[in-house]
Symmetry: C2
């Protein structure tokens, strides 16, 4: 692991990369939907390579960087669900209420497709794994998934979705959580149950 980042330096880096990553999400989307002419596609390809050269010219020394701040915060920039520097992440913006319920609203486009016009079942699982897991995190004690069961009760169309999760019951080391995905009209398409484990601190 590298030297921890000063929090102010971390904030500045995030401010620099977040807008670039938003542009990159748009580029991922239009790459699927484009009907541009051959010359424009080839020109776009060259620009993409040029951008990758600029960013790739100086890389973090680790192939899979783990970045922390001097305050001990783990920087989730690369997280595939919430990462501000990860163009794969929609990204999810989680809200947590005083009862521990976690919710998010997200609009998924063509880049998350499985069956024609619909969200891939595995992406539904990703959304639910992440949000159910979020109900189980405690300060300084992140939780990992033990088991996850997903029931697909109706197709999930691409477009705006609401995802929520809540704690069913809790023990010292485990959280049993439930959740679902609904469409704009509140109709449930996917339900989930999960057991999340907070690994014991090494003594």
């Amino acid at each position: 692991m590298n030297a921890p980042l000063d929090p102010e330096q971390a904030r500045r880096t995030e401010e620099l990369y977040a807008p670039l990553t938003r542009s990159l999400r748009r580029l991922v989307d239009v790459t699927i939907r484009s009907e541009a002419g051959d010359a424009d596609v080839k020109r776009a390809h060259r620009l993409i390579d040029e951008a990758a050269e600029l960013l790739g010219g100086r890389l973090h020394p680790e192939p899979h960087p783990v970045r922390t701040t001097t305050e001990g915060r783990f920087l989730t920039w690369g997280n595939v669900a919430i990462g501000t520097r990860n163009a794969i992440a929609p990204p999810l913006d989680l809200r947590r209420d005083e009862t521990g319920r976690v919710t998010t609203d997200v609009a998924l486009g063509s880049a998350y497709e499985g069956p024609a016009g619909h969200v891939h079942g595995g992406i539904c699982a990703l959304l639910l794994d992440h949000i159910l897991g979020a109900t189980a995190h405690r300060p300084g004690k992140p939780a990992v998934t033990g088991t996850l069961t997903i029931r697909y009760v109706a197709p999930t169309r691409l477009g705006p979705l609401h995802v929520e999760a809540w704690v069913d019951r809790d023990t010292e080391s485990k959280t049993f959580a439930c959740g679902h995905i609904t469409d704009e009209n509140g109709v449930v398409s996917v339900e989930a149950e999960g057991v999340f484990i907070r690994p014991k601190a090494k003594s």
Copy 2:
């Protein structure tokens, strides 16, 4: 839906976009790992916007394009697991043996991260949902996920992975499939069971 594409035109379009999409996957990866200076990051951002303008200038008329060929083949260009025009897709390259077993080898980098240095549990679910589902597809009868149960038995490190799935039992309309993810040494980190449904043809 738009007019179906001539197969030769579909092949040419795919040949044009597949290398661009490979470059775009590299750009997604280095955006997470870069330690480039501010000026280079800003220049890369402008190039990304320029590429998005070129590709976004002429888009498919549907927000979530469904493309077929005149031979009736559904083009999975945007599929988030296997799509050749989707930079989110690793993409998976599935092999199927004569017994119906489906396998794939894939190397996942920082863009698929959950816990530091490890694959996100939801991405493991995506890999397994897709590959288990592939055991259930029959010619002209795609299968959709009914239920999926995932057991996380050990952390899955970023890097090279092997994923496989097989049919446990089969009925006219349902396939019960099993599968797992292993590392380079054959150690299982995630196990899955799923029920996949082939919707009845509308009569």
